[in-house]
């Protein structure tokens, strides 16, 4: 055979079917039940937050990709200017909703046209679903009743400052959705801690939520909150509506081999242990706030968590400890966001310190560095 089209690569020549895209798809499928249930509960408020967040995330990723690879730079800058300038101008004039709808529609159209162009060209798949996952996760940590520009700006921040500025997928140190949430909580604390659909109040006279009440020590029996927290919690972020559905989604991911058991179980387990030690209700702590969402979907993010089994256990325990410490002893009632971000920061150190034992080196001889 003088001329042929044989491809020569290094082995292996077969690969398992899982790709980055399929992994992201699984995460979205696992989040779907909880999300849909929440959308049903929150109506247009919830739907708009999720839509705006996801579309903005996709748009932002397209912009970064184009600018980084110098494809269609001019039209990308124009699109970016329009999508940021028009809402700014519109809000100054007081055009609110109309501007919002126009901007979001424009972003969706631009994203679609750019991805369609991309598919016709290269074989390399850039749009692997990771932006969609970030957008969805960010929407889930927002309260449902927020101005439209909260998910809009937050999603921009999540993708730009949480992921792209580090170098893109795989290079970020912190969980992008949580970075955005942290920045937004510092920027507009009122919107992010008060936009509940129907607050889950401690009792009829006070307006404190159960988590704040437990912090102030004004609440004794919390078991009456179990059912609503587990099944249908109207007083929380979009992702906190149904711990049951989140748990189901998390178990699905573990069974599908997408995430491993170490982080969720050690995270939640540590929370149980600590709450028992201080004499507070462990079940309540598991169900309240963002613990379920955080332990199952945020802390388990591949890029920002350790890669070895030992490392993951350390990570999970650390997250649990910090979450409980913040919930018990700090001014804020919620600790999941900061706990996960802090442990994200320690992940490179954990990975550097906890390496697997090399094959053929006995445990006794392991101390000898080569």
């Amino acid at each position: 055979m003088a001329e042929n089209n044989l491809v020569v690569t290094v082995s292996p020549h077969v690969k398992s079917p899982g790709t980055t895209r399929s992994v992201m798809r699984w995460v979205i499928i696992a989040l779907a039940p909880a999300t849909l249930w929440a959308l049903a509960a929150f109506g247009t408020a919830g739907i708009s937050v999720v839509l705006i967040s996801v579309i903005t995330a996709l748009f932002c990723e397209v912009v970064w990709h184009n600018l980084r690879t110098s494809k269609g730079v001019a039209r990308t800058w124009l699109a970016l200017a329009l999508s940021l300038g028009v809402p700014a101008a519109g809000s100054a004039v007081g055009l609110g909703i109309a501007v919002a709808v126009a901007t979001v529609t424009f972003m969706a159209a631009f994203t679609f046209s750019e991805t369609a162009l991309e598919r016709r060209g290269e074989k390399r798949h850039v749009f692997d679903g990771s932006a969609a996952v970030t957008g969805l996760l960010f929407a889930l940590v927002l309260p449902p009743v927020v101005p439209w520009w909260i998910p809009f700006i937050g999603s921009f921040v999540a993708i730009s400052l949480g992921k792209e500025i580090f170098g893109g997928l795989g290079f970020n140190v912190f969980n992008p959705a949580l970075v955005a949430r942290a920045i937004l909580v510092l920027s507009w604390p009122v919107y992010l801690t008060k936009g509940w659909f129907k607050p889950l109040v401690a009792d009829a006279t006070s307006s404190a939520t159960p988590l704040t009440a437990i912090k102030e020590g004004t609440l004794a029996g919390l078991s009456r909150f179990y059912a609503p927290l587990f099944l249908n919690n109207p007083g929380g972020c979009i992702g906190e509506v149904s711990a049951a559905l989140l748990l189901a989604g998390g178990l699905l991911l573990i069974l599908a081999g997408i995430i491993t058991w170490e982080i969720p179980s050690t995270y939640l387990g540590t929370m149980v242990v600590v709450s028992l030690l201080v004499g507070q209700d462990p079940v309540f702590h598991l169900l309240a706030g963002g613990a379920m969402l955080g332990a199952l979907f945020m802390a388990t993010d591949y890029v920002t968590s350790p890669i070895t089994s030992k490392g993951k256990i350390v990570f999970g325990v650390g997250c649990g400890l910090i979450t409980m410490m913040l919930r018990l002893y700090s001014k804020s009632p919620e600790g999941v966001t900061s706990a996960i971000l802090f442990m994200n920061m320690l992940t490179p150190l954990i990975d550097r310190s906890l390496n697997p034992r090399p094959f053929g080196v006995s445990r006794a001889a392991k101390g000898v560095r080569k």
Partner: protein, 221 residues
Amino acid sequence: MKAQMMDLTRGVVLENPLLRLMIGLCSALAVSVKVENALFMGIAVIFVLTLSNVVISLIRPVTPDNIRIPIFLVVVSAFVTIVDLVLKAYFPDIYARLGVWIPLIVVNCIILGRAEAFAYRNGLIASAMDGLGMGAGFTMVLVVMGAIRELLGTGSISVMGVTLVSLGSGFQAPTFMITFPGAFLTFGLVMGGLNKIQAVMAERAARRATPSMGKTASGGA
């Protein structure tokens, strides 16, 4: 003459103390909350830096090498005390807002750094130029950061009670910008911006130097 011009302009961009030498950051991050604070701090630093550079350069012949740092500190504190008393007397609210950062100018890495690295080894005019340039560069970055943080963090920029810019009452300011994390972020973005500008300028200079190479290989990141 050219060398002296270099001494003056070096500290503004090429060897900007905050963005390139990366010294004196702590006070910069804290003070850049408001343009007003930034301006006054900057002027204070220019004053202290220039004059202490001059004095340290002058007393070189009588400064024993092994105790030079305490001597620098004495010189610098003298000028900082002048600034402190002047601000306290004529601008009490600024003084109150800048608080502990005024006395901390004494140990600001820029002042001590330039004293050790330049004023102690160079002549009078050069040291004065260096002080002015570094101080100007410091002030410039501080004011830019202050403008960004104040505008975005409070919705308007006001100096000495006069509102210079305002984004309107409908603007919901992200208070993140006036916190310390916001300071770090702003600083990083400003540095990134400068890096990008310098990279583009270097690329253009390289392209002009070798026009026969045609299209350069670097098509972006």
